[in-house]
Symmetry: C2
Subunit: 544 residues, 2 copies
Amino acid sequence: MRSTMQDVPLSIGDLVRYGTTVHGDAEVVTWTGGEPRRATYREVGRRAAQLAHALRALGVTGDQRVATFQWNNQEHLEAYLAVPAMGAVLHTLNIRLHPEQVAYVANHAEDHAVIVDASLIPLFAPLLPKLTTVRHVIVAGDPDADPSPLAADGVEVHRYDDLIDGRPEEFDWPAVDERDAAAMCYTSGTTGDPKGVVYSHRSIWLHSMQVCMSDGKGLSQADNALAIVPMFHAMSWGLPYAAMMVGPSLLLTDRFLQPGPIADMIEAERPTIAAAVPTIWQGLVAELEERPRDVSSLNRVVVGGAACPPSLMRAFDERFGVPIVHAWGMTETSPLGSVANPPAGTEGEERWAYRLSQGRLPASVQGRLVADGGTVVPNDGKGVGELQVRGPWITGAYYKDPDPAKFQDGWLRTGDVGTLSPDGFLTLTDRAKDVIKSGGEWISSVELENRVMEHPAVAEAAVIAVPDPKWDERPLVAVVLREGRAADAAELRAHLADRVARWQVPERWAFISEVPKTSVGKFDKKTLRKEHAEGSLKVIEERG
Amino acid sequence: MRSTMQDVPLSIGDLVRYGTTVHGDAEVVTWTGGEPRRATYREVGRRAAQLAHALRALGVTGDQRVATFQWNNQEHLEAYLAVPAMGAVLHTLNIRLHPEQVAYVANHAEDHAVIVDASLIPLFAPLLPKLTTVRHVIVAGDPDADPSPLAADGVEVHRYDDLIDGRPEEFDWPAVDERDAAAMCYTSGTTGDPKGVVYSHRSIWLHSMQVCMSDGKGLSQADNALAIVPMFHAMSWGLPYAAMMVGPSLLLTDRFLQPGPIADMIEAERPTIAAAVPTIWQGLVAELEERPRDVSSLNRVVVGGAACPPSLMRAFDERFGVPIVHAWGMTETSPLGSVANPPAGTEGEERWAYRLSQGRLPASVQGRLVADGGTVVPNDGKGVGELQVRGPWITGAYYKDPDPAKFQDGWLRTGDVGTLSPDGFLTLTDRAKDVIKSGGEWISSVELENRVMEHPAVAEAAVIAVPDPKWDERPLVAVVLREGRAADAAELRAHLADRVARWQVPERWAFISEVPKTSVGKFDKKTLRKEHAEGSLKVIEERG
């Protein structure tokens, strides 16, 4: 028996129509270093319509891919709206990928046009000759930037503003099948070629609703949202589309991602919510210590992309009265997986334990833990296994690359290892490939890192497994000390002795100037392992 | 180009699995007059599984309809979960419909089984012989109730608890197509036969997300939700399914719908949110004046089903510090249409104007106004037209009755007349059939009613159009005075003179003891019009 409900597809076109009219007065504010640029959602909607007309004029039809190579700014948002709404597919290129990988990704997706920020011409120009399908490059931003380096056979170069100027300010966004592609983003895997995840109109709509749910990120019209997480990283965690759904103002960082400008932005524009990886907030804490600013407008800060050090979460609470809300997700999960909203009524350390977990999986994201042998581990908060997830905004394949090893019975294998509590809270202890198996027992590298980072002299710590003749594997800690602070391996071992089981305390330590990072700011343990294997990491052994 | 997203259907089975495990500790509390009955979501989940096994044993297969004739209580919730999750269709019978209409509805839906609350046996028994498709009656509740009146050829009568006792506490909820029927509810139209609306798994899931959105009703795990709106009225406004999605405790009134018990419930169980039609809150204000109780646990009260008198909203704010959140919807809209969350930053009377409107339509509910001639009226906050809506949880037909007059180009004609502001706020002035056209100008019956009800002596006021030789139509006000208070037509006219345009002040007044109500508690203007036409309404004419 069919329902009598209308068969209305969930579509970005309807989202754009809604956000740019009903919430037409909301503002998009782009940071410039000087006076911020301001536009209303209504104006952004008109320009998105003009952009869609311009892209049609350049021959963009059907589901052709239109790529972006841009910072978080108004023009990038216009592309977010126009490209999927017109039925084409938005492909956000990660400007921090290795140039060879950017070229691979653009060719693999068969991008037809690329919108490039003027400030990124020097980075993009050397790539352009390697892009085999791109026919149009559209330069947005600084009108004085020199476009001449952008030269390649068969490629036309356009000025964004010139291209859209004078075109109609309305576009009759076509009807779509909600399961059709709307946008794509490649994972920045540390091994092998990047892999494409293709979001649908449906997945983006459902994900946006989740972002706006009280137990999601609770985004609402009353918010003023600062999106620091790049629009080329997992769709800026869904903020741009969720903003169209409920109408908060949207504050975009452009290229000003250093702690100083971010502190200035918060003081000047008074966001209520901000989203970024832990490194950004680490930097902000140091910045505000040096030069205080008023960050009291924030009523929550969403942190994901990597586990947030507990010391950072506590610092934010204590110094600024701003709760950091821990969240977990990945490009493959749109990305919102879990959000650590602690259960009502919890207090003190119990509440902290919930807040420090990766959070609760919502109804739309089913999770299960699978042990090495392939058996499902009970969700008792103790059993450890690889997290597998299932749901309407979780990928079930990679673009032109089904990669069956990453899936099991239709569930995505996340590569993350941890526990699930009976009340649905996820605690990750490792990436599957980072697990340390010492004498038959698991040691959590994340746990060790967090404990080491609680030492006042430590800025960052990354733990990897290294071969050990007696225990098979043992942890090695790579430590970055704070400027002007000192601590040696013996002191850090003593610090850990009170905090972890005695047999877990590492014997191998390396003091380094910086933890290598991936293009999305995560600890790049692959590089550390390689350095260790090659003998280029200077290791101190300390058993005292 | 298809997306790579998993094709996971939105299903009540997954919702039940999630809510009864992850939120297994949340409570369902059923009021009894004495000690409330308590069960965890986990226990309710087990009993829902048992109920599903029992229904299968009674021959319920495929998309057969299982009806309920119950109050808001634990067993009704168990049916809400079990019936759609097992793939059958839940049909909530409205116990307040005329018996002939209940019989019509049950036969039209071809109900196979009916779960009847023991306290409703006297009401249900006379109907039973008229039900042509019902094979099983399951009596829930009071074990001492006498089931012997439930006798009809070919009908087996069962005890709910006996029927489920000993059956397996898990059920492998089958996979469904998300567009398949999950539940149905008949409208209680005042003209003609009731019409069936059939909700899908998809529509219920999406609607539940909306209920939990910050700018929806903001339902969250931290809530304790008091569902006064009956589970046989438009799915209790979506609270039961939304509760499964995010895990608030759920407080159910059973048959105790009088102001006294409701005040007791609020004081004893400390809900944070409650939902009911205006009449309930009118009664509560009077009750609390007489015998104060602590209602400070409420942080919002959702009011819909009929326009909320402004005087009631202000009273709630002033006396209890509890905001009434005005919402609009209908059985055909699942029912959540608009919710009056005023825009951030608004204050004073501007904020009140937003709060008194029917609220903002969300992204998932598209609205347009259509004038008499069929032309679309601009959303400028001034143009008046009939509201038409479109979206994934809006009906596009009636069950076995397409009724094309109720739809236009796939949009539902709501029969409600009003304005839409540029920022998406809906203000209803009338039901289409209640519109008063006086000398070519429209008079809003709702506006007049609200103004009359601001008079301290007035408890209720209902306005209908009556024929007028000079103006075509003029308003007639039927007034119910508060106990012990007096006011005559001249005084009420003087009261109105300051509040509405002079030409709108009515000349015709009737003082009555009670406004006739429909089965869902709305003013029954059809009956008033009939009484007026028959001359049984005593009308005072006053032009002074």
